[in-house]
Amino acid sequence: MADTLFYILAAGTLACGMGVVTARMPLFSVLSLLGSLFCLSAIYLLSGFQFLAATQLLVYAGAIMVLFLFVIMLLNLGDEAELQGHLGFSLSGKKGLIAGATALSLGLVGVVGAGYSTPFVANPAYERGVDDLNALATVLFSRYALPFEAASLLLLATMIGVITLAKRQRTTDAGAHPQSAPPSTDGETAA
């Protein structure tokens, strides 16, 4: 039963992944990514990683997806057809050949690997999930305490960087690249 569910979810993940790549509009691409993340979260749950499944839903489906949708709606990105070329694909010549060959060979490695399937013998000690929150926290706050603190620094640096990127328009952009800036002035730079 759970095995069948895994294969259904795997098919859903891959179908949504293809949707991300082939969608015409960025909005549908991001929604398809959301479906893929939901399927992956269910797979985590089936594999016995409850905490990771919850984190996946909260951080990815909650925060990151909202950020993507927010940017799409902020920039009013509708149809992609206005990009040069049809459908916004740049599959041409050598680059497309390299892309196809890379993806195909990676996929083939996976399919060949599926031939070797050793049976999985579940450990009764982990009947209630592999990432028991107690054990996870014990390891995270002892052995991985330094990376954990470094992660907070990374988040701080990200926050400062994003704020800097978001507000740099008035001071530097107008003067730094006068020749490459688009002619449309939106009043803010002029003022």
């Binding site: 790549v21 990514l33 992956l40 990676l106 996976g110 050793t118 049976p119 999985f120 449309s184």
Partner: protein, 112 residues
């Protein structure tokens, strides 16, 4: 819990990563390229968790392998993905302000 062999999970991961690589290489919309990067990061996450699940099996668990490494690494990957998405989307907004488009072909600042 399911009894799917580890190899099948790794196959799913490889195919998902290949999809992400394909999207990264052939699309020219910056937002879809970022979404493809998220796909690849998720494939890496799935690999970590599959490995952790593999080493939690009865006949493998005894010899001092810490199976908590998989979930912890996945947690860090999710964290880095969040930071990457925030910076990437801020760059997209800055790019759109400069060029009024999100086509990657328009990014020729360093070439000229």
């Amino acid at each position: 819990m399911m009894n799917v062999p580890t190899e099948h999970i790794l196959t799913l991961s490889a195919l998902l990563f290949a999809t992400g690589v394909l999207g990264f290489l052939i699309r020219r919309n910056v937002i879809i390229v970022l979404a493809s990067i998220e796909l690849m990061l998720n494939a890496a996450n799935l690999t970590f968790l599959a490995a952790s699940r593999h080493w939690s099996q009865t006949h493998l668990a005894a010899d001092g392998v810490n199976i908590m490494q998989g979930p912890i690494f996945s947690l860090f990957v999710i964290l880095v993905a969040a930071a990457e998405a925030a910076v990437g989307l801020a760059l997209v907004i800055a790019f759109y302000r400069l060029k009024q488009t999100v086509a990657l072909d328009a990014l020729t600042e360093l070439k000229d």
